[in-house]
Symmetry: C2
Subunit: 630 residues, 2 copies
């Protein structure tokens, strides 16, 4: 006898219990038509998950409770399991606010089933509090509750008993992190299995990250195998953000059998229902289709950036985008992405030349715009930049003693005047007039060291490439040409010229390029932020001394050796970027646009930072001395 | 027999264990000269506390461990107690990174004393994870460790036994939040007392907030009284930040006797040593001076803003500031603050008139600059704004089909062009040329609803007034005139004219003012962010219906009644600001400068936010219908 289980990989709208509730009712109706016996929804599918301190609004909590009751009431003929916030008015969290749980509810035939410790819900035990997660800020864990009530967590983790299709089955229900057992003292799924579960359900609200699905497949497959029973992972789609980071949710709802085999999975980013048939007695689970394919880079980068941008613009009500188009790779690829997402008729590309822009890049910008059939204009900035320089240097400043003086503008100041003239004067106003927003095209390497001008280029509604390195921007550009547009919308030359900001006579394409040599610096900077134990300037010197730097960073030996003229040159370069990474660039990131986040560590709320004076670890000085002596 | 206890209310430099260590050595030397027997340092005085994900750098942790050993080694002839990070390489936190504790170390005569559970330190039990605190993100609690090791927290909380001055004493050592027992399941200080402590030491790294010292005095006085033994609270001074929020640490190190009396306390923001004499047998504690006074508003606002700004600029290496000076209250008070902090010779004030600026405000700006003897210039923006408008509306945009079109600029776009022309074009460049940074003068009410232009006025190095309401800006202005400058540096007229952004013919002083009526909106917006259970649009309507709104908000009945023309007008206004507060203004806050934070809830990392579409709770529609029917 098969029990039909449907998993709702639905798009959750964070902060809108009303809309999520309405959607859930539609899905319940559909599942009933499909003759589902059990219907799973994701974690926090009523409130959404990344909603910041809205968790402190009692009116919001009350609404979530109301909709949870309504969902339970609508469960006639079905068993519905869903994640939401639960709260207890007569108890407090440790912050003194009302006691809240990240909870899963199970309802059957209109009634809520009993959960843990006498409550009508089960609560999450493992509360993630790393990367973008703040579960401990808002929720009380099963472990804390057990401690408080003198109960044992192991005994509390009882599977829910259901009578369904004439059978009695035991469901091991858990929430997201409860399945990621590696570093927690207690293994929730194995405890549920030991306590008699016939099947494991993991309701999740788990953001996408490059490589994460593979890792989860390995882990959850092992959990199912160790427990010897099927495991179903149900995750939502959509986007959610915590201000500084916009995350995509790819769903990837997956079903593993008791041998740990991945039986089926839902397509990435599909708002869909995935159905399986479960024979509880035989411990068997089957599906009509096999697993959906998992794309590799650069397809995975393309898909998550496209989905995230599309959804973010829709949430913000933005239908048109304006971009500065310098003729360089970043803005070219961004332009292609936006044209692909919004249609070229809704994209305005602006080339904003000063006297330092080369004919090469100006011609390339025009060519890209034509290739994409986007709206295009050339608005020179030299008149305005000269006017600003003249105003500032000619206006008399009245000093303290009644004497006047004049301000003096250095070369660097003139460079920043140009960048702000483009971003804040032209692009921001043109975007408003065109009827939409404008894009920040900075990549992760530039953001890592603040190679950007405040209010000049690190501005806009979204940093679409803020979480990918320059090498990934290039790869995405090639992918767009070859697989999406199937023609050379981004001209081949752009992949080959050395990037340059073109802000001075010395710095222009053909003469001077960016100070970043991406073939090496992409990888150096990646180690500072993405490595598990964050790499510091000290480890870099140690690896350099030991001749294993390229290997450790994952860059080519060649790229690295060609970049430097011996140890002094190497160290000078390292200190320059470390000081910026650990110092002034933080100030720029604090005021940067939200980053569309897809790697295992993104700048913003995922990688949290204080403005500090740069610090070199003790070892650094020792290693430097040793290396320079050689 | 008296035991001499010294408390080091030292300035801690976050992220610089080397500098803090050096300073601690100096203090140890001084304490030894003063014949101290016990020397207390604050929590996390080696690494600093708000340092973001630097906690994940192994090299940083290693340095902290090294300096902790060095401090222990330097404790000859003394007992030194200090807070730092402790870690265990062979164990993991739940995030899979090395196991870390927020720990206190005690060393005597060169050796570390034993702490809890066989470690040579004690670990914090109550980990704050609300407001700006993220302790659970980084540290493992005593409770979790006890759970893991099958130990009891109550038994683990054993006072440290010391032989000192020929006596054996038992010290109940705890860290910061361990003393804030109200909402925790276990009361650490009372458990320590029950386990035999003769005295309680609370090592803290506790940021300043308006009203917090009074609350702590009540709480810690009660702890001492309940335990019947003295309690010493040792806190640091300085500033620390987590990116979006800059916090001041006021020290306010305090000593309570066993009756709960506040015996003595150190001055606010003083980098100092506070010494007391303790008779363990008689349970008596005495000091030469009584408690330092606690200032009330507006003095408290003035002192914390001055200290925080001064320290923040010093940390950033900023010696000169540039400010736009509109002739309105916010920039006038900011100008006075910066002149007071940096000296008027280091402040450049810029009046940047368009054709909409009134003669009144232009004259006031000039007067303020003269009163302050600051550097002053007038740089008009009409030429540049017109040039931008002309460029944008005249340049032909090449459309998809080869036809060209022109962009059209609305009145609102023209207003934002002016704001950005001031901020991004003139002030940013002038600040660089003058040799420093520029100030963001936005107040908390403006930031709450995003009444500010991206890259126009919500920009700069620090939002000095970003955590105070307009009424507090006015009060601060009066305080500066009366108590600091002792003359009318801010002209009386500025306190009396209705604020206006002066961006259009309709909006200029004398004709049209800000859409915010601060006498009401300051208090409305305060309820949204600062109320314990965050107030939403639904509660506001309920209070309005019940005739208790002014009372609930704390504003004057008159201010509120004069503002609206009946319920429809009231509701329209409420919806306007709620939509902005819960919606678009978040986008502006994401890209806003750091906020100098002094209230019980500041925008930024203290009040965390996601970009969401505004949500009206279910009750709202019901109440609205009811009110409009009346």
């Amino acid at each position: 006898m098969y029990i039909n289980i449907s998993c709702a990989q639905m798009e959750v709208i964070p902060g809108h219990p009303d809309r999520n509730f309405k959607r859930m009712l539609e899905i319940i109706k559909k599942a009933r038509e499909d003759k589902a016996n059990i219907l799973l929804f994701p974690e926090m599918c009523i409130p959404g998950y990344l909603i910041g301190d809205v968790w402190e609004q009692q009116a919001f909590l009350d609404d979530c409770a109301y909709y949870a009751r309504e969902i339970a009431a609508a469960s006639g003929g079905l068993c519905v399991m869903f994640g939401s916030v639960a709260f207890e008015r007569d108890k407090l969290n440790e912050d003194g606010r009302v006691r809240k749980y990240n909870a899963a509810f199970a309802a059957q035939d209109g009634k809520l089933l009993k959960g843990y410790l006498g409550r009508d819900f089960i609560m999450k035990n493992s509360l993630p509090n790393y990367r973008e997660f703040d579960d401990c800020r808002y929720f009380y864990s099963l472990q804390k509750l057990c401690y408080e009530e003198g109960a044992s967590v192991k005994s509390a983790l009882k599977p829910l008993e259901l009578a369904i299709c004439g059978e009695r089955v035991k469901i091991g229900l858990m929430l997201c992190e409860d399945g990621w057992t590696k570093n927690y003292h207690l293994n929730v799924p194995q405890t549920l299995a030991a306590n008699g579960a016939d099947i494991l359900f993991n309701l999740s609200c788990s953001p996408y990250a490059l490589g994460k699905n593979k890792k989860r497949n390995r882990l959850f497959s092992k959990q199912a195998k160790d427990a010897g029973i099927p495991l179903i992972y149900c995750n939502n789609v959509g986007i959610q953000n915590n201000g500084k980071n916009v995350f995509t949710y790819d769903g990837c709802t997956s079903v593993y059998d008791g041998m740990g085999k991945l039986v089926t999975s839902a397509g990435l980013y599909d708002d869909t229902l995935l159905s399986v048939k479960w024979d509880a007695k035989k411990r068997a689970i089957k599906a009509e289709c096999g697993p959906a394919p998992l794309p590799e880079e650069p397809e995975s980068v393309y898909r998550s950036l496209k989905y995230g941008t599309e959804k973010f613009l829709a949430q913000c009500g933005i239908k048109k985008m304006t971009l500065g188009l310098s003729g360089g790779i970043d803005s070219a690829v961004a332009a292609a992405m936006y044209c692909h997402i919004l249609g070229p008729e809704n994209v305005l590309l602006l080339n904003l030349p000063s006297e330092y822009n080369s004919d090469i890049t100006k011609a390339l910008a025009e060519k890209i715009a034509a290739n994409l059939s986007a709206n295009y204009a050339v608005i020179p900035i030299w008149e305005s930049s000269s006017h600003t320089a003249a105003q500032l240097s000619e206006v008399p400043v009245m000093g303290k003693d009644g004497k006047t003086f004049n301000l003096k503008l250095s070369g660097l100041i003139m460079e920043n005047i140009q960048a702000r003239d483009r971003g804040a004067r032209i692009i921001a106003a043109a975007a408003a007039a065109f009827g939409g927003a404008f894009s920040c095209n900075s990549n992760k390497a530039e953001i890592a060291i603040g190679y950007a001008t405040f209010y000049g280029d690190i501005c806009g509604v979204l940093a679409i490439f803020g979480d990918i390195w320059k090498f990934q921007v290039y790869a995405l550009g090639r992918y767009l040409n070859e697989k999406i547009f199937r023609r050379e919308v981004i001209p081949e030359e752009i992949f080959n010229i050395r990037p340059s900001a073109e802000l001075s006579p010395e710095q222009t394409v053909g003469k001077g390029g960016d100070p970043l040599i991406y073939e090496y610096h992409d990888y150096l900077l990646r180690a500072f932020i993405e490595n598990w134990h964050k790499t510091t300037s000290a480890e870099i010197l140690r690896w350099y001394r030991d001749g294993i730097l390229a290997e450790k960073l994952g860059c080519s030996e060649k790229a690295f050796k060609e970049t430097f003229n011996g140890p002094e040159d190497f160290i000078e370069d390292l200190e320059r970027w470390w000081k910026l990474f650990a110092g002034f660039s933080v100030a720029k990131r604090i005021q940067a646009p939200p980053v569309l986040s897809i790697t295992k560590r993104a700048f913003g709320y995922d990688h949290r930072e204080a403005q500090l004076e740069p610090y070199f670890p003790r070892d650094y000085a020792v290693l430097k001395k040793e290396i320079l002596k050689k």
